[in-house]
């Protein structure tokens, strides 16, 4: 990758980040439920950025840097555990693309996107798990009792809800890839012959 590619990927990362922030603000009203929905909305909305990026910068490392940078930014914002998660997401994304020539292959881009985003989305779980609702009772014994902790756990960490959250994410990512492909072709793909209204 050339310097220019890195710079452009970073700027696209900024775009993705800004979109996630905006969607994050919207999902804030959902409280802890929001943690799960948040990433799914992000997966849906950021897919066009990912598609355009792969098509315009079809080089080894593009995807990895895209995710890794987000990971570093999360770390600097205080979420250091995000760094390894994002690194893994980026690596798998690159692997799914496979061959160098496939950066322009919509099918491969889609697979890579869904896989990476699902790993990214898991950070929500990791986060809550890591934190351990139990940890809350320790820090705030007056505000968060063991019973409350148990209740919150029951709400979120049962296999049914986990499955729902995961499938929501997968569906969001798949819809995202469709949206990404659509927007890329409509606005960025120069090889498409367009029908004009004037002659």
């Amino acid at each position: 990758m050339k310097l220019k590619d890195v710079i452009t990927v970073s700027l696209l990362g900024v775009v993705g980040f800004v979109i996630s922030m905006v969607s994050g603000m919207i999902t804030q009203v959902f409280g802890t439920y929001g943690v799960f929905v948040h990433v799914s909305i992000g997966s849906l909305l950021c897919a066009p950025v990912y598609f355009v990026m792969c098509h315009k910068i079809p080089k080894r490392g593009t995807i990895f840097i895209y995710y890794l940078l987000a990971g570093i930014i999360y770390s600097l914002m205080g979420f250091i555990p995000m760094l390894p998660i994002m690194a893994v997401a980026g690596l798998l994304g690159e692997l799914c693309i496979g061959n160098r020539e496939n950066y322009m292959n919509d099918g491969k881009i889609s697979i890579s996107y869904v896989i990476s985003q699902v790993i990214y989305a898991l950070h929500g779980f990791f986060f809550i798990l890591f934190l351990g609702v139990e940890g809350l009772t320790k820090t705030f014994p007056n505000l968060f009792t063991v019973e409350k902790a148990q209740m919150v756990k029951d709400t979120f960490f049962n296999s049914k809800n986990m499955a729902i959250i995961l499938s929501v994410e997968v569906i969001a990512a798949i819809l995202g890839t469709m949206l990404g492909k659509y927007i890329y072709n409509k606005f960025f793909n120069k090889n498409i012959k367009r029908e004009g209204m004037l002659s």
Partner: protein, 231 residues
């Protein structure tokens, strides 16, 4: 005129805040009330030292959030929707010491951050990427409002009936902007010799002083207390 104190008399270095952040991260999940309050207090002291104004608004935010949480805790039954928001609020409170550090980190100049990352042996391209994030996030926020303005002049806007169109009108200009900025910035950086192979220097003095060692020491003490309490 706005003067950034951190940058002028750079007192605390990004790296020491970074180290403290790692320590905080590793203990924040297990910390007892005592350590939590100590961490919170310490990060606020640091924030006051570098960004007084910001520390006031952050403090007010904390007090309000804490008050609300206490209120909900005493007045409402914690379940369902309220429970969910309540838990979220608690998590924010819990991570507050970390976020205060993040606020401090974000007040450093781009070059201080980039040089610090470089001294951690991170590849130059990643350092540039991170610096770009810091530099351009506010730029893109401003750009979003410019897009809004452009939409108004065209009598366009968000519409629930056309969700895809609503997304397009924001997303497409931003993506194009990224490519355009990428090109201009690359020209500027290349002609300013960013790719020149030599030992790079820093405009800011980033060598450690007793203050930095002090900060790390305090962090280690917090770590010590947490481990000792666990045992």
């Amino acid at each position: 005129m706005f003067v950034d104190n951190v940058k002028r008399k750079i007192q605390i270095k990004p790296i020491s805040i970074g180290v403290l952040m790692v320590i905080y991260t590793s203990i924040v999940f297990f910390s007892t009330m005592l350590v939590y309050w100590l961490m919170l207090l310490f990060s606020f002291v640091l924030l006051i030292a570098v960004k007084k104004k910001k520390s006031i608004s952050l403090f007010i935010f904390y007090i309000i959030l804490f008050g609300l949480i206490s209120l909900v805790s005493s007045k409402c039954t914690i379940s369902g929707w309220i429970g969910s928001i309540y838990t979220m609020g608690l998590i924010i409170l819990k991570l507050f010491p970390l976020w205060t550090l993040a606020v401090i980190l974000s007040s450093f100049g781009t070059s201080a951050i980039i040089y610090s990352l470089r001294s951690l042996q991170l590849p130059i391209s990643l350092c540039i990427g991170v610096a770009i994030f810091f530099r351009f996030i506010p730029e893109y926020r401003a750009y979003l409002s410019e897009i809004n303005e452009g939409l108004k002049t065209r009598n366009m806007g968000l519409s629930i009936i056309r969700p895809i169109h609503s997304l397009e009108i924001y997303l497409v200009p931003m993506i194009y902007k990224a490519f355009e900025t990428g090109e201009i910035l690359s020209c500027a950086l290349i002609t300013k010799g960013i790719e020149y192979d030599c030992k790079k220097t820093s405009y800011e003095d980033l060598s450690f002083t007793w203050k930095d060692y002090g900060i790390i020491l305090v962090g280690l003490v917090f770590l010590g207390i947490t481990i000792w309490k666990k045992l």
